[in-house]
């Protein structure tokens, strides 16, 4: 069965090539059928492979062709099919397919319809290569490929200069990460002579390395993961990447590409397991990112920006899990997050579509009655990300928290704060968008309509997945008591590190109830502020006004909420947004650029254009060279 795996990336590639060569004369219907059909075909094959993996549980390497034979470097272009890659396959092609269907509705009025599908297919192709590759080299091909596709899709509406800037920023940030990955690859290769996972981990090549070398390699690998998965301080590109069409945000910047970093760390899990320093670094970077994303999201008013920062924050959660050695739980959160975040992004796309391009939640409100389907599915997604039982997010997030509690108390507390923020900002956004009075213009109100079936059907499918998806990973202790196993951990065991805690059933239930209780309180707070009291959200220029002016307004309890939750969070969020992001990080990036340009100016001065000067340089060059040769 695993031999079929070659077909999985082949279908999207064929779809892409078709669009490139015949796309211009193809109708939108046919483009949809071919583009989505290719992904669907991949999905079916992935299901077959997954099923076979479910039974055999044996990792299989499928060689496609011999690729690089240079000196002692032998790399086959081969796919490694095991439980980790087949799990990733399933949600890449599955969620990918739904987003393709959705795009056919969302992009129906766009002149670049064919181009869009071509890029999407190409993206899926590279993502599959990334996940399937049996060595770091093959992974790197997919890694760079998705980077390029992401770059093209962010700048898809290339007519606007800002989109091109965002695309460039994303690309450069990713290159910084890639640098780390390349260095890690070089170090691994020069020390072990191979880049193949099976040889590295199963044949134990990695064990022969010195501890300091292991740590160095792991840290460089992690830098690679940081770039792709938007971890602090390389996260700034992700919110900007929202400039692309919304299905792109859903597919690439929420569900699949950004989880490549998680994949990289999980795939090389043994390496991280052997280095405490690196694991701790992963955990703390994840923690900072989770907190920062969550607090910034509190103050954002662009519907896609809120979701973007929420993605950054959730990715941080996953890295915390990785850092604690609970790799299977990180993968679990990747899966549930793919469901509900794709759902939320597609829902926000539906809202933007209905609002005629408006993205500011301050201009929305009361959309419930115009877009009932979007509202219902969006609510499901919001509940899932807030971590309410029995929605998918509850299971995965709860297990991360449980592990943190066993592992490191301060980390646990900070994570609980981050997840409390999550519940608050998600419901803030939900209420502002769908409840209350409509705050936009009349023209917008007139334009409001529910999205077509091609967009709502994927929403429903994802909504169902967001409800039931969590049951594949039922908590261990609780599951043991009622004989409901943690299916995912069982499946992933082997290729992925599975950490099983020894938590008692009681503690597990109390923790679940406690986190849910906190989420419920935050939802109530959000409801109180934005629905019961209908507090208007401040315009950007008003936020900077002195705090006492705001406190003078009589809100009763709301003032307390304001002071307790919103103000500090606002302040922290702003501190992160302004100081850390723009001043420090942009400063570093700019300084690097300036330094490179400075050297360039020096080099340019040599090129005066006078032949005599050129000849002099020649002779001086020759003399220096002779000097170097006879330096001894």
């Amino acid at each position: 069965m695993e031999k079929l795996i070659t077909l999985v990336p082949l279908f999207p590639l064929v779809g892409f090539l078709y669009q490139v060569f015949f796309g211009k004369n193809t109708s939108k219907q046919l483009t949809t059928i071919i583009g989505s059909g290719a992904i669907f075909a991949s999905f079916v094959v992935s299901l077959i492979v997954f099923n076979s993996q479910l039974h055999s549980h044996h990792a299989v390497t499928v060689k496609v062709f011999e690729w690089i034979h240079a000196g002692s470097l032998h790399i086959d272009f081969a796919f490694l099919v095991d439980s980790l890659s087949s799990t990733y396959l399933l949600f890449i092609t599955g969620v990918g397919f739904l987003i393709h269907i959705y795009s056919s509705g969302y992009m129906s009025h766009d002149e670049g319809f064919n181009r869009f599908f071509a890029y999407l297919n190409l993206f899926v192709f590279f993502m599959l290569i990334l996940v399937l590759g049996d060595s770091l080299v093959t992974l790197f091909v997919g890694w760079e490929g998705v980077g390029v596709c992401s770059f093209m899709l962010i700048g898809f509406w290339y007519k606007e200069h800002a989109n091109n800037e965002a695309a460039k920023k994303a690309f450069i940030m990713n290159r910084v990460g890639d640098l780390g990955l390349i260095v890690a690859m070089i170090l691994i290769f020069s020390n072990t002579g191979t880049l193949n996972y099976v040889e590295l981990f199963n044949h134990g090549k990695i064990a022969s390395l010195s501890p300091s070398m292991l740590t160095t390699i792991a840290i460089f690998l992690f830098i690679g993961a940081m770039g792709k998965s938007a971890q602090f301080p390389l996260h700034t590109w992700l919110p900007d990447a929202m400039a692309g069409p919304t299905p792109v945000s859903a597919l690439i910047h929420a569900a699949t590409m950004v989880t490549a970093g998680i994949y990289l760390v999980a795939r090389n899990g043994d390496l991280f397991e052997m280095s405490h320093t690196a694991s701790n670094l992963v955990m703390y970077v994840g923690l900072i990112t989770a907190l920062m994303g969550a607090t910034i999201a509190l103050t954002q008013n662009d519907i896609k920006k809120v979701l973007a920062y929420s993605t950054v924050s959730q990715l941080g959660f996953m890295f915390v899990a990785l850092g604690m050695g609970a790799h299977s739980i990180a993968v679990f959160h990747v899966i549930t997050h793919a469901f509900f975040k794709a759902l939320l992004f597609l829902g926000s796309g539906s809202v933007i579509h209905g609002m005629g391009g408006e993205q500011d939640i301050r201009r929305m409100g009361g959309l419930k009655k115009y877009m009932p389907t979007t509202q219902k599915t969006f609510l499901i997604g919001t509940l899932a990300i807030a971590g309410i039982f029995p929605f998918a997010g509850f299971f995965s997030k709860d297990q991360i928290l449980a592990h943190a509690m066993e592992h490191n108390m301060p980390v646990f507390i900070l994570l609980v704060i981050a997840s409390a923020c999550t519940a608050f900002y998600m419901f803030r956004m939900y209420y502002l968008t769908f409840h209350g009075e409509f705050r936009g213009t009349h023209a917008q109100e007139h334009h409001l309509h529910e999205s077509p079936a091609s967009m709502t059907i994927p929403l429903w499918v994802l909504a169902v997945l967001s409800i039931v998806g969590g049951f594949i990973g039922f908590p261990h202790a609780m599951g043991h008591a009622i004989h409901f196993p943690h299916a995912l951990d069982h499946f992933l065991e082997g290729p992925v590190l599975v950490a099983v805690g020894d938590m008692s059933v009681t503690v597990e239930i109390i923790l679940a109830l406690a986190t849910m209780g906190i989420a419920a309180v935050m939802i109530y707070v959000a409801h109180n502020i934005y629905i019961a009291k209908a507090t208007p959200v401040l315009e950007d220029n008003e936020i900077t006004s002195p705090i006492h002016k705001l406190l003078n307004k009589k809100y009763g309890f709301d003032e307390l909420y304001e002071a307790m939750f919103k103000k500090p969070a606002n302040a922290i969020g702003h501190a992160f947004a302004t100081v850390v992001e723009w001043k420090i990080i942009d400063g570093i990036v700019n300084a690097a650029g300036t330094a490179a340009e400075g050297v360039g100016a020096l080099a340019r001065r040599l090129h005066g254009g006078h032949i005599a000067g050129y000849l002099l340089t020649f002779i001086v060059g020759l003399i220096i060279l002779l000097g170097l040769i006879f330096k001894a």
Binding site: I623, G627, F630, K631
Partner: protein, 109 residues
């Protein structure tokens, strides 16, 4: 050692360049024509045709030199040498025809 040597050369060259007095006069800057006073500008335009004919002459003239060693060794080289020379002359003829075709020898154009 090498560094000291190179450094010495560079320093002395720089020093003479910097320390030496420079008194430029009009006469000093004039071109030296073997003691005879220079007349007129050296950069007078002349017809490019002279240059063309001259360079083509040099070209074909030099190629003829190749025939001397061939003639000296004519017996040893035998038929092979004869055919080689035919090939060579053939190429020369093509070249000659080409320049005639291009009008390079056409003085009146």
């Amino acid at each position: 050692m090498a560094l000291v040597a190179a450094g010495f050369v560079v320093t002395t060259m720089l020093l003479t360049h910097l320390l030496g007095p420079k008194r430029k006069t009009k006469i000093k800057n004039e071109a030296f024509e073997c003691g005879i006073e220079s007349v007129g500008n050296a950069r007078t335009p002349f017809s490019i045709k002279y240059f063309l004919v001259a360079i083509l002459f040099v070209l074909f003239d030099v190629e003829v030199i190749f025939m001397y060693p061939w003639a000296v060794n004519f017996r040893e080289l035998g038929a092979f040498g004869l055919w080689e020379m035919f090939t060579f002359m053939g190429l020369m003829v093509v070249g000659l025809l080409y320049i005639i075709k291009k009008g390079a020898l056409n003085w009146e154009k």
